[in-house]
Symmetry: C2
């Protein structure tokens, strides 16, 4: 039995932000300040080298909470944020930096390391979800979404493949090598983002990962630009995607 331990709470501009831990894994839960009404939950996975409170995470959480009234949770991935790195983590991070400095492709290292992180992270997410669903304002019968790009996709795709509680997901910006197989097991609606001029992920690789999902309802959003140039308006689009599937009108800006 997993349970949530809250360690801090702040409220600003209509959003309650609570630090928590489940089995020692630290996370943040963002909720509407308006009250304890039961609402859908969106799990957010952060990217490689960042953490649960990275600006992209807090920005997306605010859009989902204030635009849709949802709860949003993000946990630090293994070796990220407030969590210690293992010797293996250090070794892969060093390999990644070496590749970058040498101008060699990052893909093979990121694919391998992220797959290993996903093996550790999937059971942590499941325990976290068990615990969050014990909260009366979330509960076990409401919809659950997953939203994660880059490493958040490397963890989120295998998680969604084995986790029937997740009924809609936003993914993107990763390679198909380790993810095409779990993607073939995913049938829930997805929105998938890729960058048309990605200098790390070949266009055909990104398209192949989108193609692999078994979902009858899936949408690809491909934008001109390099890997880190994903337009800000795609966050609004992801919020509308969850609003559409979870039955709440999104009120985020155009």
């Amino acid at each position: 039995m997993h349970s949530v331990h809250f360690t801090a709470e702040t409220t600003s501009n209509g959003v309650v932000e609570r630090d928590f831990a489940v089995d020692g894994v630290p996370g943040v839960l963002w909720s509407p300040a308006s009250g304890p009404e039961r609402a859908p939950l969106v799990l957010m996975g952060h990217g490689g080298g960042t953490h649960k409170r990275w600006p992209a995470m807090t920005g997306r959480a605010r859009l989902l909470v204030t635009g849709c009234g949802f709860h949003v949770a993000c946990i630090d991935a293994p070796g990220h944020g407030d969590r210690p790195r293992t010797a293996y983590d250090e070794q892969e991070i060093a390999a990644l930096y070496r590749a970058r400095e040498a101008g060699e492709p990052e893909g093979p290292i990121v694919v391998r390391y992220n797959a290993q992180l996903a093996e550790r992270a999937v059971p942590e997410w499941q325990a976290t979800l068990d615990a969050l669903q014990e909260l009366p304002e979330i509960g076990t019968d409401g919809p659950v979404g997953y939203f994660g790009l880059n490493m958040g996709t490397a963890i989120g795709v295998p998680l969604t493949a084995v986790e029937p509680r997740i009924t809609a997901a936003v993914f993107g910006l990763h390679w198909p090598d380790a993810l095409a197989e779990p993607a073939k097991q995913i049938t829930v609606p997805i929105e998938f983002m890729l960058q048309w001029d990605d200098e790390h992920i070949p266009r055909a690789s990104g398209l192949a990962l989108f193609d692999a999902f078994a979902s009858k309802e899936k949408t690809l959003h491909a934008n001109a630009g390099r890997h880190k140039e994903l337009p800000r308006f795609e966050s609004d689009s992801a919020v509308r995607f969850f609003a559409r599937h979870f039955g709440r009108a999104g009120t985020s800006p155009a």
Copy 2:
């Protein structure tokens, strides 16, 4: 000098709908009922075999007028709606029906016929735009968009390539054969829609047309499904695209 002749006017649910003709080409202009305030104009091109008042046209016009306060104009393409067919039109339409009945590919006929229609339609659209910009509620200094899929793209791409007044456009669902060259001359922001499982347009062909646009800001929306299964929410997305570029907040549903 081209001028607009209005022939009928109705108002319902906040939208004024005026029938007009410019040089004998019939069209519809939808405007906000709230008053004569100057507002951006979106030109809409209808699909093959349909006309200016097809439900997809009136539905999109309503979203743009009530959601953004824009003016929206659609004219009948040559050989469509209230316009007579030439002998050439009849011949190509017969060829298309024969191909359909024989289970042969429609693409080569549609590509050829639509290219010929575009040659006739581009100057008609330019005359219509000249005339509409004479109206005080539109004017010559406001932004102009173009929104057309299928045949609306076959006409809209060559139109946008030669028409500097169009500063943002939504296209989709066509082949690159006749359109890749004019697309290479287009640099304004575009949103482009294709169907991932299109039974008429091969996936690689749709992607090649998207790739051809020279626009620095371009977004591909590819949805699972066959040619005619474009999801309804893509109309909302197109409205938000124009709202984003023309500086008005879209208020259409998620």
